[in-house]
């Protein structure tokens, strides 16, 4: 009796997962192989011909090879933001976890506020313009770092607390200055958290559509998400190209996952840090 229920339950879960995750992906792939007319039907019909390669070429060549520029921009933004996020969030998390001062309450409040309060776009644009950062890649990087810092800090602070203070003290006695303690002892031990942070943040930043839309206007500044708009307009949409585009921009996050996947699992099963 128990076995049948659990098999049924398992089957239902698999079916639900299939519908939610796999079917849309199959749809995307099917659409990428079709030509423009067939894709306009927007159904699950099998592609009449193999148009995949021409779709890809078309997508990449659109608007003066905008796709290439977009990939470069997105990559720069993602890599630099994530690097800055990891370093700064780890530093803040480390100090918050180790040092008990009366400012801790205020700082934690600010972090929570950063996490919960939605950013106001127009004042931010006004601020960026004042700093001459509006519409620049480094401005965009600073925005991404600022928006994602609270989450990263909370993640790091929780994990720094699991590193025994003894290790800091042993390092200090060995002659480590504060930055040595941080970079040579604490940060290496935070590797599992760093990996998780890298994966989560890089996928989030790479996939970010709205922030580049607001703060990074212009063709030269396009990020990959914005290229989707190349193929959508009020009156005509080339669905095959649109979905090919979607497929192309799914690849980098997929690579990140595949590369770091084993590290995340290893980090979670490695056990507590023991001196």
């Amino acid at each position: 009796m128990k076995k049948r229920t659990s098999i049924l339950g398992g089957a239902a879960a698999i079916a639900a997962t299939f519908v939610v995750f796999v079917i849309p992906f199959i749809f995307i792939i099917l659409m990428a192989f079709k030509d423009r007319q067939q894709s306009a039907l927007r159904d699950f019909s099998w592609p009449t011909g193999f148009h995949f390669w021409e779709n890809v070429v078309e997508v990449v060549k659109t608007r003066n090879w905008m796709m290439i520029t977009a990939f470069i921009n997105s990559s720069i933004i993602t890599v630099v933001s994530v690097t800055l996020l990891v370093i700064f969030a780890a530093m803040v998390g480390y100090v918050l976890a180790r040092r008990k001062t009366r400012w801790n309450g205020l700082i934690e409040f600010l972090i929570l506020a950063g996490l919960m309060v939605p950013p106001a776009v127009v004042p931010t644009i006004w601020l960026l313009q004042g700093l001459k950062l509006f519409g620049t890649l480094h401005g965009m990087i600073l925005i991404e770092v600022a928006y994602n810092l609270p989450f990263s800090i909370i993640l790091y602070r929780a994990f720094v607390a699991t590193i025994p203070r003894d290790l800091d003290e042993a390092a200090i006695i060995d002659g480590a200055r504060p930055l040595d303690v941080f970079f040579r002892v604490v940060l290496p031990l935070l590797w599992p958290v760093t990996v998780t942070n890298i994966v989560v943040q890089s996928v989030g930043i790479f996939n970010d559509f709205t922030n580049p839309l607001y703060y990074l206007p212009g063709n030269a500044n396009a990020t990959v998400q914005l290229t989707l708009y190349n193929f959508q307009s009020q009156f005509s949409t080339a669905y095959n190209l649109l979905f090919t585009n979607i497929l192309l921009i799914t690849i980098p996050p997929l690579l990140v996952f595949m590369f770091f996947n084993r590290q995340i699992v290893a980090g979670m099963t490695a056990g507590a840090v023991k001196g």
């Binding site: 003894d166 290790l167 003290e169 042993a170 200090i172 006695i173 002659g175 002892v185």
Partner: protein
């Protein structure tokens, strides 16, 4: 070479004073043990010497320098932690050499020092392992190796054997003692275990509540404790105490009596005690002997026959209970009446303030 001086050292956390004016002088090459119950401030004192805690008042002198404001790395100290505090992501080789790497020591010098420390501690075969692949005793050795390699003037040990099992503790205790002889180094050792203190120390510092209770050699503390606290802390099993009044003073003997004991003679020079003085009598369990006409009479409670000695729990008339460790195997029955005596020279008297009535 370097000795240490602690001059009126104080430590407060806000309004709470935890170290209340400690004065101590440590010679070069001495093995000093700070001992005391939990919360007495011994670890705090050690950390103040190391530089991990700020000094609120007083002076700390290492060698001939006042080091209150000096960073730990410049004080010439090295510390072995209770939890070993090995860097989990580095091999034993890198753990031991971490300090040297930070000091930018040339690679060949660094390598030679690491291997020398490994040789002294017999851990050459462990150099490529990570701490998670070592046993507790091996980790402890790596921690000691990391300290040795710094060639410090003072070694600081913070309860290093607490995390080891009993058998290993005995072995490591002997290794530390041997190390002390080989290196001829000043060592300050913190423990709550008075057996470790008695066996390892040249000098024991007994602390309670942030105040030094007594400083002296192990046997000195055992035979001539300065107050009730030291008397009760040093020696296992614990010293027996009873409230008494001084009866008769004649020459160099004082007779004391109380609710549980009548006419126990205690050897004391004349003039130290007057008849009628309220005192506490302290007798160590090992100093009690069976005597038919003994002054200490009670009922046998629990008997533990260990073969070479017998531990007897004696219930005294007032309800108090004394422990006696008697030589040899004594076939005593529970409930039996037992009379014990004590050598007048071994019995100790403490005045109303808990201070020892000095024998000399």
């Amino acid at each position: 070479m370097a000795g240490l001086e602690l001059k009126q050292l104080r430590k407060s956390y806000g309004k709470v004073e935890v170290i209340k004016g400690v004065d101590l002088s440590i010679e070069h090459g001495e093995f000093v043990v700070f001992v005391g119950p939990s919360g007495c401030g011994k670890s705090t004192l050690l950390r103040m010497i190391a530089g991990l805690e700020d000094i609120t008042g007083g002076e700390l002198v290492i060698g001939d320098r006042v080091v209150n404001a000096v960073e730990p790395r410049d004080r010439g100290i090295a510390m072995v932690f209770q939890s070993y505090a090995l860097y989990p992501h580095m091999t034993v080789y890198d753990n031991v050499g971490f300090g040297l790497k930070l000091a930018r020591t040339p690679k060949d010098v660094r390598d030679q020092k690491i291997r020398e420390a490994a040789r002294i501690l017999q851990m050459e075969h462990l150099l490529d392992r990570k701490p998670s692949q070592l046993s507790g005793g091996q980790r402890q050795r790596v921690a000691i190796g990391r300290a040795i390699v710094r060639q410090p003037e003072v070694f600081l040990f913070d309860e290093p054997l607490s995390n080891l099992d009993a058998a290993l503790r005995v072995d490591m205790r002997m290794e530390i003692s041997k190390l002390h002889n080989d290196l001829d180094a000043t060592m300050i050792y913190v423990t709550h275990d008075q057996v470790e203190a008695m066996t390892l120390a040249d000098k024991i510092v007994v602390l309670d509540g942030g105040v030094v209770q007594q400083v002296g050699s192990p046997i000195d503390l055992y035979k001539h404790p300065a107050n009730l606290f030291v008397a009760g802390f040093i020696g296992s099993p614990k010293m027996n105490f009873v409230e008494v009044n001084a009866d008769k003073v004649s020459g160099d003997t004082v007779n004391v009596s109380g609710p549980d004991v009548v006419g126990v003679p205690v050897a004391l020079p004349a003039g130290k005690v007057r008849p009628g003085d309220k005192l506490t009598l302290g007798v160590r369990p090992h100093d009690l002997v069976v005597a038919p006409s003994g002054a200490i009479v009670g009922r046998v409670g629990l008997v533990e026959r260990l073969g070479n000695e017998t531990i007897v729990n004696l219930e005294l008339p007032s309800g108090a209970s004394w422990l006696a460790v008697l030589d040899g195997d004594q076939a005593l029955k529970r409930g039996e009446s037992l009379a014990l005596d004590v050598d007048p020279a071994r019995a100790l008297l403490f005045d109303a303030n808990g201070l020892a009535v000095a024998a000399a």
